[in-house]
C-alpha cells in the first residue's frame, strides 16, 4: 500500500468508527426510551449543562445526546488524524494547512458560533 492509500484507509476508518459508535448510541437510547414507555416530550432544554449536571443524572436521552456529540466529534477527529499522517509523510505544507483548519474550527467552537 502506498502512503496515500494508507491515509485513505485510516481516514475512512476514523469516520466509520465515529459513525457506527454514534448510530449504536442513538439506537440504544431510542430503544430504551420506547421500551420503558417513557415517550413523553422531555421538559426543558437538552444542552451541555443538562448533560453534565442534569436531573436525573442518567437517562436514555443522555445516551442519545452522547450519540449526537460523538457524531459531531467525528469530522474533528478526521482532521486531527490527517495532521498526524501528513507529519509522518513529511508533508509540511499540508500538515500546516490541516492544523490551521483545526485551529479555526476550535476557535469557532469556543466562540459559540459556527
Amino acid at each position: 500500500m502506498t502512503s496515500v492509500e494508507k491515509m485513505e484507509v485510516l481516514i475512512s476508518n476514523v469516520l466509520k468508527v465515529g459513525v457506527i459508535l454514534s448510530a449504536v448510541l442513538i439506537l440504544l437510547g431510542l430503544t430504551i426510551l420506547v421500551a420503558t414507555g417513557d415517550t413523553s416530550y422531555p421538559q426543558g432544554v437538552m444542552d451541555i449543562d443538562w448533560l453534565i449536571w442534569g436531573d436525573p443524572f442518567f437517562s436514555p436521552s443522555h445516551i442519545i445526546f452522547l450519540g449526537f456529540l460523538t457524531l459531531i466529534a467525528t469530522p474533528v477527529m478526521r482532521i486531527a488524524a490527517s495532521i498526524v499522517v501528513y507529519l509522518k509523510m513529511n508533508d509540511r505544507s499540508f500538515a500546516t494547512i490541516t492544523a490551521l483548519v483545526l485551529i479555526i474550527l476550535i476557535v469557532s467552537f469556543t466562540l459559540g458560533i459556527g
Binding site: 431510542l30 445526546f65 482532521i79
Partner: protein, 260 residues
C-alpha cells in the same frame, strides 16, 4: 448523492409536514448533515472519489468563511442575505444548465495551475459508468478558494453546509469532474456542519425525539446514495443540480422577501 447534505430538503419537510418548530427542525437537520457527510465519506474516500488534498485545502477557506459569516449576522439583515444567496444559486443553476447542453462530459479539462501544482492538488479516479480511469487537474485555484470562502460565509450565516455553492464552483471554475466535486464537497461539509451543529446542541435545539430518527434515517440514505453515485453519469448529476439549484434559489428569494 449530490454532496448537498440534504438540510435544505429536511428543514421544510419537518416544519410543514410534521409541524416541528423551526429551531428544532434546523437542529435536527444540521446533526443529520454531519451524519450524511461522514457516512458518505467512508466509501467516497476509499473509492478515491474524494480529492482529500483539495478538500482539506479548501476547508481553510470555508471554515474561515463560516467564522466571518457568524460575525456578519449582526451586521446585515437576514432577508437581504437570503435574496443575495438565492440570486447566486440561480446564477449557478444557469451556468450549469448552459454547460450541460454544450458538452458531453460533465467537466472541462483544465491543467493544474501554479498553486495547485505546488500543492499537488490534481488527482484521478476510476469511473465505473465510463469504465476508465479519469485524471484531472485543478485550475483557477485562487478563484475557487474565494468562492469557497463565500460558501463558508453563507453556511455560517444560514447554518447550512453550502454544498449548493461549492459543487458548481469546483466543477465549473476549477474544472474537476462532477463526481469528484460532489464527493469532495460532501467531505468538506462535515467540518462546517459540525461547527454549526455544536452551537445548536449547546443551545438545546437538538430534541432527542425529533433528531434521533432523522439522523438514523439520514445515515441510511447516505450509505445508499454513496453507492448509487458510481452508477450515475456525471452529466445526469449536473442536470439534477440545475433543477435543485433553481428550486433552492427561488425558495431563498421568496423567503427573503417574506421576511421583509
Amino acid at each position: 448523492m449530490l454532496g448537498l447534505g440534504g438540510g435544505t430538503i429536511l428543514v421544510p419537510l419537518l416544519i410543514f409536514l410534521l409541524g416541528v418548530p423551526i429551531h428544532i427542525a434546523s437542529g435536527a437537520s444540521i446533526v443529520a448533515v454531519v451524519a450524511t457527510s461522514s457516512a458518505a465519506a467512508i466509501s467516497y474516500v476509499r473509492d478515491e472519489m474524494t480529492n482529500m488534498r483539495l478538500g482539506m485545502f479548501l476547508e481553510l477557506a470555508t471554515t474561515l468563511g463560516a467564522v466571518t459569516g457568524a460575525f456578519l449576522v449582526s451586521v446585515v439583515s437576514e432577508s437581504t442575505l437570503r435574496v443575495i444567496f438565492g440570486l447566486s444559486l440561480l446564477y449557478a443553476s444557469g451556468t450549469m444548465y448552459l454547460q450541460s447542453r454544450r458538452m458531453e462530459r460533465s467537466w472541462a479539462h483544465r491543467p493544474n495551475d501554479a498553486l495547485a501544482d505546488r500543492l499537488e492538488l490534481g488527482g484521478s479516479y476510476f469511473d465505473s459508468t465510463r469504465n476508465e480511469t479519469i485524471t484531472y487537474g485543478v485550475g483557477n485555484t485562487p478563484k475557487t478558494m474565494v468562492v469557497s470562502y463565500f460558501a463558508g460565509i453563507v453556511s455560517g450565516l444560514l447554518g447550512i453546509g453550502g454544498g449548493g455553492i461549492k459543487v458548481p464552483a469546483m466543477n465549473s471554475i476549477a474544472g474537476i469532474p462532477m463526481k469528484v466535486a460532489v464527493a469532495t464537497s460532501n467531505f468538506m461539509i462535515g467540518v462546517t456542519a459540525a461547527a454549526s451543529a455544536f452551537v445548536y446542541l449547546r443551545h438545546g435545539y437538538c430534541n432527542a425525539f425529533v433528531t434521533a430518527p432523522v439522523v438514523l434515517g439520514a445515515l441510511l440514505g447516505a450509505f445508499v446514495g454513496a453507492r448509487l453515485i458510481r452508477h450515475v453519469r456525471g452529466v445526469d448529476i449536473k442536470r439534477m443540480f440545475v433543477f435543485i439549484l433553481l428550486v433552492l434559489g427561488l425558495r431563498m428569494i421568496l423567503s427573503g422577501v417574506w421576511l421583509v
